[in-house]
Subunit: 251 residues, 8 copies
């Protein structure tokens, strides 16, 4: 309910066309539903640009397929994360247009190719081959959110020259997502090389005290490079959403 509607309501009361009781009943639900609509205006574009996202983990396959079908019926794009191959196959069978990306555990239904809707390139940098699933999740999600995406792989800090050889690409990116497991040192190095936002994504790659990504996470949070920000372990999706927030123009 916006200002004109509210003015009309009060006018009706003043004119005696609406009783105080009925006015009270209409106003009773106002605050929250209004917030609801307001929030929808801001909420939708935040996560999907032109589509919806389903986090498949913990949902049954039936539930995911049903939600996806409903969204597709509204002709919206849809992205399914943490999607198993079996679920990917079911989605492809049930809803025309789904493509499954096995390495990233992502199923996506969107027009291909499509031009980025946001300005500036997101560069996804990853430390090792084992970090690829998370890096690819970040890259595909960022594309879904409307970003132009580039990838730079296998540039861990113990082989510094491989990273430094690509400094031009680092410097030209608008946002850099750095994906690394083990000791998670790569964001510190990248953060020291560039002036733009660096989003660090720890991965659960490693063993022993790597502790499913805890060592990388803590390394990234205590980075000596000022202003590196961090998301949850293996959360490539979250990094992509953050990058999209950064590239989105102020409302």
């Amino acid at each position: 309910m916006n200002r004109p509607q509210l003015t009309a309501l009060l006018d009706a009361i003043r004119r005696g066309e609406l009783s105080v009781e009925d006015g009270l009943a209409k106003l009773r639900g106002l605050p929250f539903e209004d917030i609801g609509f307001a929030m929808v205006d801001h909420h939708r574009p935040l996560l999907s640009g032109a589509g919806e996202v389903i986090y498949a983990s913990g949902k049954t396959a039936d539930e995911v397929v049903a939600i996806a079908e409903r969204i597709a019926a509204e002709s919206q794009d849809v992205l399914v994360t943490r999607c198993t191959p079996e679920l990917g196959a079911r989605l492809a069978a049930a809803v025309p247009g789904f493509v499954y990306h096995a390495r990233a555990h992502i199923a996506v239904r969107a027009p291909t190719p499509r031009a980025p809707s946001l300005e500036g390139t997101v560069l996804v940098v990853s430390a090792g081959t084992a970090d690829q699933p998370v890096a690819e999740e970040a890259a595909l999600c960022a594309e879904f959110f409307g970003c132009a995406v580039e990838r730079l792989t296998d540039v861990g800090v113990s082989g510094l020259h491989r990273l430094l050889a690509h400094r031009e690409r680092l410097w030209s990116a608008a946002v850099i997502i750095v994906v690394a497991g083990m000791e998670g040192a790569l964001p510190s190095v990248v953060g020291g090389l560039v002036a733009r936002p660096v989003i660090a994504v720890p991965t659960s790659v490693g063993y022993g005290v790597a502790a499913n990504g805890q060592a990388a996470l803590h390394g990234m949070l205590t980075s000596c490079a000022a202003g590196v920000v961090v998301v949850n372990i293996d959360n490539g999706f979250g990094a992509a959403a953050a990058a999209a927030r950064m590239l989105r123009r102020p409302s």
Copy 2:
């Protein structure tokens, strides 16, 4: 060594003005010093805009004062974080122009007032009174880095109406820094309300399982609001540096 200098060097060799051996000697040190200069170009503005930052913790007072004096001698602005009142007093005595901010544990030497050098407002939102030292560190550092800063305090999630009453300010900010201790739920709520970047700063406020900020940190990293990014516990400085990275125009 930049491109023109390198061209000159090669020209000198071609012309025979410089022997191959001498050219070799000059080139030998090139790569790293060059990286060094290149990085300075990018590094300086990243952290300070027009100044330097000293992290005082773990340094002796003598060391901090000496560094600050050297920077001041170069007429640069300087910011000292994690600065005790005693150190603040020593700095004020030793270097003209230092102002100490007791709540934020920050000493700063910079022209006052100064116009923001970056476009867009950074809104620093904090959950409770006890979170003020960290929130204020974030706000003062962001100002030092050239941001326009606004503050919104005491809007914890158990009194939702206080936060919702300020939704317009949330929507008009370019970047929001959310500072919260205890369960750290505020960034999830804010992240659901806005489409722009949300930087969550857990504080060590709380007791028991709050565990010096661990509960807040973990709450923020597992936020159900997509794209919330996180910095280390009590790291208001880092959040400000991250905000500045986001507002800085692509190079």
Copy 3:
């Protein structure tokens, strides 16, 4: 053995109808069996109203079936928690009247429908679809304990408007069980909206630092909403038992 029975026993001794030896024998077991009986009077209704509860985890299927058969032979209601589909099928085959609830991992044998024996409604609120198994365990157990139960699902804090739209239901509940994984922020928000008991149930939903529910647990324990109480991770059963304790009239 209550006071009248004890008086009768001593009277019988005084009248010589009971020998000191036999009196001694009867008294020997008194303290503890009496405690036992006293406790049964309090214990039984606490957990089951009109039935028994079997926690299946760690018991062999044979053990669970045998216990269930013995209880059923006494015509008592019986609830089996943490019940696998295989065990559910075995129970249904062995004991007439068992119904298996797959999502909640619960098998229950009780008259259907039955009127609540306790006054006041228990509202089970859950944050996401993946929290349903725990929320449903809480709901079904609360019904077994004699509570009237309502459900409110998918109202996480990043979409506040969905929760606020149901404030009437929150305000009319006698006890609210809030089930949430990830950062577990929902109980703080609910606790700030209502004046009645809020029982928070962290779930193991999430990954990375969600740490199988640790982040949610810690978030709930450090809730800024005063008086929120917490049970173990995924312990829907315990929340239901606590709700029943709260609705039971003082003895």
Copy 4:
């Protein structure tokens, strides 16, 4: 703004005593302030019955005194928790009527004596002498919230007979708050003896793996007595607030 006030406002518009523009201006702030007032209706009695609570930790003494003075000026009761002796002395000097309870670290300003406003007794049971500060915080806060409070001390599980000697008092309580450090086993025993709510408060008493209350907390959360609920370590205030929620009649 409550229902009668809103009705009056609409009536004034209907009668032409208030223009639509002015009504709009008053309603503009309504939704959130209304939520605020609505929540106050629910919120105030929740925490204080007839007063306000200030959590002193992390606030400066000046801030606490200023807030307390403002509340006292409104003739409201006020409770200050985590209050140091120094702060207690300052409050007593600044605001007439404050009493400082050293063991509980609480300063309270309220009429003495006052009859309980809630029905049913809260029994605060504590395991050892060292748990007294937390137990006393729970007891004093519960009294502030309007509960009738009894205390039962020094009844740890290694001397079971001391606890069992008081079973009648356990059975007659409406809510039992059990305060224990070390292994935190007391709530399991009490929970097995009574059918009413048991709120467990772990304390930071102990050393080594007691880990500032972690062992007690985990022991209480994994209690084999169904339906025991838990609050944060040393959170006597929270337990009292939870007890008040349970004794408050449904709205």
Copy 5:
């Protein structure tokens, strides 16, 4: 090499039957092999009374069978712990006389029945049905080590009367092994009831913060009953070995 052997060696040197060089050679290895023999005198009875123990976890089935066959060839008794059903079957097939205990994951080859070689009864008390595998490991191992063993099951602290009904058995035991998961409170209660040694064994039974036995372990280590000693989680074998150490007469 024992004292008689050493005397004989020195005698042989004195008589000239052994050269100094050859004596030196024999003595060279003496210290350590002698320690070995000395330790065997103390070591063997410690662990097995009249047999050997094989910890199967981490060994291949082939390795376990080969070791067992070698011991059996020496006509010694042998106990295999952490033995899978498959390994138990292979042992039974390969070595006559092996009996597999499925619940305790133990395979044992020893004369049946055999009289206890140590004086005093070991009472194995367990809290719940799910603790049986560990309790039974403790009981069977204690029997293998020569102890008379009794069992007392399903006497958790939330049903205190069940435990207290057996106080006579508690008081007549020479050593009590208490096996419990969840909050691990049982040893505190038992330790308060008896004056003899209480060995607490935490089990990995439970979920959430039970954390695979961590809560029980910490509860037992912080027991308010003085002098309760603890072994590793699920270490029924270690508790049995400790009990045997306690019942063994001083050397």
Copy 6:
């Protein structure tokens, strides 16, 4: 109340010397007080032999002195653990006969010298000089409990020869208490050398991952020497109480 006393009571009722009402009054308190008395019979000698123990930590000095005075008034021995020098001085001033042991933080009031009341020697072995406070607490408490005590110091595992030089003393002890910080490896070595009980006491000595005794505790719990038992970090008192349990003859 024991069996003869109970028989006498019933006889008095039968003979008419005691009314049923008076008998009832006496029996009313019986069960629990009887448990109490029964437990006292077992409990007292368990912890003190001929005295009482006060754990001073968390108690105010006034409380400790008052308790000590009351016990002294009953002519009982008394031991105060975790006793600061200040408290020790106050005790010595208030109660004649107190001796303060600064290194062990123990104040004791008992006849000196006194012959051990338990058979068999307790050997307290410690790894380093920094472990002395805990080792001395164990030794003094064991003496208070009636044990003959010997000490063996500075025999860490990195200088094995120092330990092995004392093997005779190890072999002649009835119970060995092994006190060690850092990696806590000493109990494994001692446990492999002797057949009698080994009680391991981890100390908070060390830094970094020593983590206030966690590393030592975990090392001791995972000892490869079978049957080593463990108490809480720095719990010399508990180890002494356990040793006394082991040396006490079966009831």
Copy 7:
């Protein structure tokens, strides 16, 4: 690009055979590729002596085989760690010369036998049979890196005589790798016996608080034997690489 190549380039410019522009283009990439080559000079021999290492974990089988084929095509030796039996079989089928070591989970392709290229023996000492996989990984990797390797197995600290019997072998080794799980005490004992480097490798052998190697890791890091160094849990490969670094002659 090495020094001769750089000299040639500058010579070509000087002689006019190469334009300044073309020289500039070649030099543009120089710094980093040069670093690369420089590092290769140091890097290669470090890890492999005469070959490459592939860490198979987290890579798909296709990726590992492809990399191995490419290296083999260059006639280089190759070592694959964390190699499953299935992957080992595929490698053996795809690339002639691969040998799979099942216990160590290693596949290696190298001439057999080959003389050690480094001076001094690496002695791999392990505590128990279950530590063999990690010990064997260390041994095989050290051989691949050019070390002469000896093995000493089953010498845990609870049977000290077995270790001491081999003191000569300990004293003659140039570097000792000590592999142990459980409490990880062995490196402390070995470190006290020898003056040469001791590299401790914790293994994930054990249960309960062994916590997948955490107890052993912490025990080793807090070793009372000065100068023991540690690698990650189960990281036999890292220990071998460290040993090779130590035996490699200074550059």
Copy 8:
């Protein structure tokens, strides 16, 4: 007792100058004392070259001074680590020749200057100013152990060019000790640049999840640079002892 002494003893028996009984008595103590002497031969040079080390933490000042005086009386060099300024002053007053190093918390008594006794330079690299105390402890201890030491400071990974500018010094060192707090990434970078041993020392510098050095420790243990070895947090002494082990020639 060494070989010549043992030969003499056996000769005396053979010659009848020593009875078998007396020989037995002398041999009885042999093995362990002999081990002791053997170990001294190896032990001393390991830790001190020509001196003794006292770890002051946990020892009283009186104890440290007494030990230092005894060693000085034997004209030996002595090093005191974790030495407070007060203790340093007392040592300087009590024992001529002591020098106190305030930043490193070390007191040392040794001839100055003295030539290194070991071949090869130890380079101590540190990341930040706050790491200096630990770096300086490592440097001074290494010098005490006979190493030539160089220092390289303030070369953290976020300013890579500062480190790379010193690559020659990195390449010429025999052993590199890398000291770093925060995320501890420096050893990974250094380890990728050099082929010689890299000893990583995590420091407790940092806050929040830096967790007193845990993040740095875990980062170093999971380093992607193969063969980096690690010591305990803040253990500069241990790193120096390890470096000395590596430079010591094989025995």
